[in-house]
Symmetry: none
Subunit: 243 residues, 4 copies
Amino acid sequence: MKKKPVSAAPRSFDATVVKSQVTDVALVQRRREQIVAAAVELFSVQGFYRTTMQEIARKAGVSTGLIYQYAETKEDVLLLGLMFVMERFRRELESSRGEGTEPLSRLYAALDTYCRVVDRHPEATVLAYRSTMSLPREYREYIKQAELATNELIAERIRACIEAGLFRDAKVELLTYRLVLHAHGWSLKHWRLSEFATIDEYVDEGFDFFVHALATRKGKSQYARFRASRAKQLSKPVRKAAG
Amino acid sequence: MKKKPVSAAPRSFDATVVKSQVTDVALVQRRREQIVAAAVELFSVQGFYRTTMQEIARKAGVSTGLIYQYAETKEDVLLLGLMFVMERFRRELESSRGEGTEPLSRLYAALDTYCRVVDRHPEATVLAYRSTMSLPREYREYIKQAELATNELIAERIRACIEAGLFRDAKVELLTYRLVLHAHGWSLKHWRLSEFATIDEYVDEGFDFFVHALATRKGKSQYARFRASRAKQLSKPVRKAAG
Amino acid sequence: MKKKPVSAAPRSFDATVVKSQVTDVALVQRRREQIVAAAVELFSVQGFYRTTMQEIARKAGVSTGLIYQYAETKEDVLLLGLMFVMERFRRELESSRGEGTEPLSRLYAALDTYCRVVDRHPEATVLAYRSTMSLPREYREYIKQAELATNELIAERIRACIEAGLFRDAKVELLTYRLVLHAHGWSLKHWRLSEFATIDEYVDEGFDFFVHALATRKGKSQYARFRASRAKQLSKPVRKAAG
Amino acid sequence: MKKKPVSAAPRSFDATVVKSQVTDVALVQRRREQIVAAAVELFSVQGFYRTTMQEIARKAGVSTGLIYQYAETKEDVLLLGLMFVMERFRRELESSRGEGTEPLSRLYAALDTYCRVVDRHPEATVLAYRSTMSLPREYREYIKQAELATNELIAERIRACIEAGLFRDAKVELLTYRLVLHAHGWSLKHWRLSEFATIDEYVDEGFDFFVHALATRKGKSQYARFRASRAKQLSKPVRKAAG
DNA sequence: GATGAATGAGGCTTCATTCAT
DNA sequence: GATGAATGAAGCCTCATTCAT
């Protein structure tokens, strides 16, 4: 009886919006990965404008001219980079399961996953905030769509909690951004937040706060059970392997 | 009995870190305002790198060379711009009173003020996120310090709630960033959030969420009273004058 | 029995101290010659600061940007120019033979060659005096070393005269600069000197003066023989072909 | 029965070729000295183009605008500077006496004085070589005339030696430049020459060389006497007071 | 006479993009 | 398909000169 999750091929991650002179699809895929990986790293550290095409080429181990066979402009490379980054977010989020189908657990898993991706790739998050505006207005839409598609993965888990009577009713879109900003915040304000919490604590504190604000009576007892089960798990020798 | 409100002179807003060739202090002040106003507007719309010094000069109604009498580099202009913006945030936040000394009311006032400044100057917020990295590493510290000084104005109001037994104990620094990010979020994700809430709703929803998550029993009843008094106020003909 | 003529490879003429973005050594060589030739001419006529990179590019028949693939700054171009000029001096001096191995004859040949190079490229000499100070302090050392290497070609011929008992003993370094300044003087004060002497006369008068001041009895008779042989030679129809 | 020494107001040192807006002659004199002193020092160290009018003003302790009341362009300041420098050379040379009227002694005194002025103001000499070309062609003539006027002070002493039968006949103009370049050389090649001689030695060696090359029999004996008298003098406790 | 803020043309340098090989 | 040398427009910054006070 679950609603069909939005999905249905979000055009937003479709890298074909960027034209390539090369026809061999597999080659395009491979070369672009090579180029974009270098680009994302440089953009993240130095910003879009401080990074030159020649630097990207050098770091990617290709010639300058080659890049222009796989992207028409520097902005294209940025777009590919942002898509690449957001695609990673979505992919990881999509594969985060949570304990069975328990809604709270699944929501926790989503937040946990999101925060940890951010923790592992802090530059990627920052990149999105810093560089999106360097894109031509038209391209920005792609990024927004990609963001919405990713958010939906969280939104649907929030909805599940509401539908299960664990959370009081509220505007899911706003709630979603609350969690999204919590995750992004870890990167955006890492210089300060990391003085007061580890990523583990940050995730738990964030979730705890969220549940406290929204949980119905039923939700609260469910949450207590969730915490107990986690506590038991955590007491076991091995836990989340370091990322 | 209250702690002394913040420090005395937060070095972080001290514009003298940027050197000027002109000695007349009042003139420096006036010219910089003129230049920085133009710069902030352009940076906000086009970004730092897309904005040329000639554009800034033209918009400020001065010659290109003049800017260099009041700032040594383009980065200096950005620093002054960011300082200017953050100073405005702090100033407005500082002057937000709230109903008497009631802690909840004062906290609400802080969030309300913050969000409304963001609402009135959305570019300013975005500017901070997008352009801070364009600064030389050394300059970024100034911005961070300025941010902390501003945050403290919120932090102390949260602390007041905790000390008054209205909120359960928690890490104030993390809570502060929660509110800060809520305010910033209104600008960062305005394209989406504004589809689901007005600024009034966004503030109220954010505060409500915050209180729900933290309030003790005492806090909850206090909050009920606060809402009642606000409802009464809101029913009166005049309300917050538009900014 | 003779000392090994100077060192092997005087680092001082090593153009690799200036970095190039281009890797193809032959191309670097060719392009630099093209650029430097234009630069030297312009620098000589207008001076370093009055010459723009655009002018150099235009005269060299390349684009402005190209120069920056072969030299990092305008100062680098000057350094290459000075090296180029000094290298020419040294090369010509090195290949000046003189009659057999007769010391006086060889010394004369050195002075004669030096003065004639100066005569053919008066701007080059002037350039060295006027523009060396436009170089970063560090670069000036290269030029000094190059000068010393060139001077050595004269110094060793003076030493040969002393060792052959033709000249009385004296500080060779000072004597060397005496001849060097004599040659340079032809360019530095050409506006005046050329009113009173042709280059031929200038060389002869300079050598005569030098020998008169230093020659031993043996040296004097040798010098008489040298002049006699030259006189005979000079009476022949063909003489030094104009450079 | 001596020829009238050229003199008769050499236009070349006439600073009135540079126009001033100020009419008070004494003030013009005073201000210009103030400005030119600063300018010469800066030009000497940094070169003409690297020195800004604002730097000159600062070092002279006046405002930028003031300079333009006493000189129409930056080139004018340079011209005044060069005139100032050459005037000093001439003045010092003019006042160098030598032992009575003995020709050799007077010539020695000229060379000695010249070299010592150069030694005390090495930058001044270098300035002349480096910066003269920065002048508009028309101005250079003034400098040349000033140089000739100064040279004449040496030339006439050489002539005296020839007329007294101490030197063989030769082109006085060339001989003059020989001595001039010797003096200038001390500054131009100081970095090298100072490794091998003190200024005392440099002067003596230079004069000795000169006399050796030119002296008649009569001149030689005169020179021997001159050296003997100097030796006696030198053995006395006090000698040339340090400059 | 003196000041110093203001001007704006011009230079060095960068770098996205092209194209011959 | 790949290379990397070549292009040239454009931007930051400097500084000689002016002018209102």
